[in-house]
């Protein structure tokens, strides 16, 4: 089984060959998609008159502040707009896609952040209520396995269930890692808009788990999150984790073949 993490679309910013590539792979392999889509959440929230507030962590990381109203919009846009747009795209290719949220059938569980540390407008550190974001801490692979074994291609939105049954905004890369770990996928592929991980101005073409973990502190945030997700997936038993560009010809096959 191959788990593929894509952004908020299977087409935007990806090579025109992507859909045909997916179609060809789906004929031979069991596939699962996990998607992102933060930008679309912000756009729809703004249209709804709910300006998104972004917070900055002491480490300099900028994130959406997910209060209850934002969590509701996040759920609606992720699982009703982005997820279904991807499902529609795949159905058009003759792929039997089924869109679910990470909460459906209890796929993803997460711990809700009770508190968040931010830098406030005076430039000082401050603790605020955690809102509705979470760190995934458990995955139940049954639903994904059931769908895949019946010939469907699940498309999973990054929404997880808290212990109190709240819906939480969770990171899409780590959602993909946990789904891949849960189903013991052969591969998890993170499709990005860059060529892959650059270290010392060179493209990294391969690392083992130890090397990846040692490298983590040297990497910038966006890519660090992906490398971290890779290490988590490998630790959960996924055989290979690949970070690859979506802007090359047949991006998924190319990633699988290690064409750099």
């Amino acid at each position: 089984m191959i788990v593929i993490k894509i952004g908020g679309s299977v087409v935007d910013g990806l090579h025109p060959s992507t859909l045909a590539d997916i179609k060809a792979i789906a004929e031979k392999e069991k596939l699962v998609f996990v998607h992102g889509g933060g930008k679309e959440v912000t756009a729809t929230a703004t249209k709804l008159g709910k300006e998104q507030k972004f917070i900055v962590s002491p480490g300099g990381v900028r994130s959406r502040y997910t209060d209850k109203e934002t969590a509701d919009i996040y759920t609606m846009v992720m699982s009703g707009k982005i997820n279904k747009a991807i499902v529609g795209m795949l159905l058009r290719q003759g792929i039997k896609a089924v869109g679910v949220a990470g909460v459906d059938g209890g796929i993803l569980k997460a711990e809700r952040k009770k508190k968040l540390m931010v830098i406030n407008e005076k430039g000082r550190k401050m603790v605020i209520d955690g809102g509705y974001t979470g760190k995934i801490n458990d995955v139940d692979p049954s639903l994904v396995n059931t769908l895949v074994n019946s010939g469907y291609v699940p498309v999973v939105s990054p929404i997880a269930l808290s212990e109190e049954f709240d819906f939480l905004n969770v990171d899409g890369d780590r959602a993909a890692a946990y789904v891949a770990g849960g189903v013991k996928a052969d591969k998890v592929i993170f499709i990005t808009n860059v060529n892959g991980l650059m270290l010392n101005e060179k493209l990294v073409t391969g690392m083992n788990l130890e090397q990846a973990k040692a490298t983590l502190p040297k990497i910038g945030f966006g890519m660090e999150k992906k490398v971290l997700a890779c290490t988590e997936a490998l630790e959960m038993g996924v055989r290979e984790a690949i970070i690859a560009s979506g802007q090359v010809d047949n991006p998924i096959s190319s990633a699988i073949a290690h064409n750099n």
Partner: protein, 57 residues
Amino acid sequence: MKKECQECGADINIPEDAVVGEIVTCPDCGGDFEIAAKAADKVELKPAETVGEDWGQ
């Protein structure tokens, strides 16, 4: 306003305009404390919890 550090006893400076929830750091031991309550002339501190940075998207 100044307040004694609960860890090492050094004086921690509390900015006049600081609000509840803000974190102050002890200049001596480097400990982080959260302002738990604040009135005109008195302030309560509690050790700040460490929170990660994995905040969804």
